[in-house]
């Protein structure tokens, strides 16, 4: 089992969600995050002058899938989150030791 963590643009969430759902990956956790990368920051204005904000708002999607499903999930995310501009985000894949469904106590493959 693997955990796929994708940092994406806020405005791509609906498309990514829909694409994952079409591949029958329904469960996910989404959180609002701030981060920085090649996009650097954006200038904001004060009453006079300006200041730079280099942590920009993004969304983080987390989902856990079977090992053989990882590349399908990644493809669905990449093809729908990409705009081609800097700031499209990153995907991290991590090994998962155990999954437990709280309601039933089911474990691992049965709990995904």
């Amino acid at each position: 089992m693997k955990k796929v963590e994708a940092i994406i643009r806020e405005e791509r969430l609906d498309a990514v969600k829909k694409a994952l759902e079409e591949k029958s990956y329904f469960g996910m956790t989404v959180s609002e995050v701030s981060g920085r990368g090649k996009q650097k920051g954006i200038p904001l204005q004060w009453r006079v002058g300006e200041y730079r904000v280099d942590l920009l708002p993004k969304l983080k999607i987390e989902l856990v899938v079977l090992d053989e499903d990882v590349s399908t999930a990644i493809d669905a995310i990449v093809s729908n989150a990409r705009t081609g501009e800097t700031g499209d985000g990153k995907i991290f894949v991590l090994p998962v030791e155990t999954v437990v469904r709280v309601r039933t106590g089911d474990r691992n493959e049965n709990a995904i």
Binding site: P43, L44, Q45, W46, R47, V48, G49, V53
Partner: protein
Amino acid sequence: MSISPADTVWILVSSALVMLMTPGVALFYGGMVRRKNLLSTMMMSFACLGLVGLLWVLYGYSISFGSDHAGIIGGLNFIGLNNVGQEPSPVYATTVPHLAFMIFQAMFAIITVALITGAVVERIKFISLLVFSALWMTLVYSPVAHWVWGGGWLARLGVLDFAGGSVVHINAGVSALAMVLLLGRRRGFPGDAMEPNNIPLVVLGASLLWFGWFGFNAGSALTAGGLAASAFVTTNTAAAAAAFTWMVISWLYRRPTILGTVTGAVAGLATITPAAGFVTPLAAIPIGVAAAVVCYYVMLVIKTKLGFDDSLDVFAVHGVGGILGMLSVGVFASLAVNSAGANSLLTGSGAQLLKQLIGVASVGAYAFGATWILGKLVDVTIGLRVGQTEETVGLDLSQHGERAYGGLLR
């Protein structure tokens, strides 16, 4: 004189309007600081309603408006509102109950102290601010109010200040600068992006200020007649001109910001204050435009070139606005608007401008010197600044044991 019900209604309504400006300042300032200092910043203004509201009826009104002593300070004949009753004063606002005039003036004292707090937010110890505020109202606000409005030496000299360009705005703005020098910069200034936590709060606060300012300026006519209407229109016109001008300046720089636009409105309102009842509505346009341009560039220089941490720009908005406004009386005033006023550079001679300069210089110098001494006194006794950890965690927690927004579970 007998009581005019119309005048009385107007002064009482105006008093209520000016009262609302202090919570307006709380919101205006509160939105501009970092989240961890939102409540403490609002508290600094709101506490003035409690502290100054009490001191004013106990003795503040008396030493400001009591019988004159050498043109410097009022007497103790109104102490504890002694001799201040339902009958009009023979001297001030002679068509409304003396109590109405007294409470109208109370609201000015309260907001003037609240205005200063914008310079010291995010690092001053709350108890020290209270002690300083009590001292300042007693030894700076009250004498200056007496000089200009209580029959003191500046009044006798013929200095004109319709609603508080010197008493309120120069007084607060210059004192703010003195406190900035004593207190030093916030940790991380300049360099750290100190982002306003909630600009909608700033807009709400500025809106309440604009609304309340009609009581401040048009109420200062002290009657419900044509002069009040004239001051009402100059007030709105200057605010409009300054808001629009600041918006354009920020647009030329990059984009039209609402933080800049509302700041412009407040600068325009502060600037028209001393002139509101002496100039024509059309003269309010150049006054408003000048307010935005001059306050903008002074703010830029103070913040970026000089590196003073006048955190919420009290000097640049109120100090500079007050000075400009006082001088604008000497340029635009007309006896046709107000027979108790004067003619000026454009309507007669430069004599009034010279008087206005004396008013600006004397109030500015006194406010700076006296505030520096009072601030220093508080600093060496109880200390002005919070400790490093208290500043880092924020004044909401360290000074008040509260936080603006609730925890994880909403």
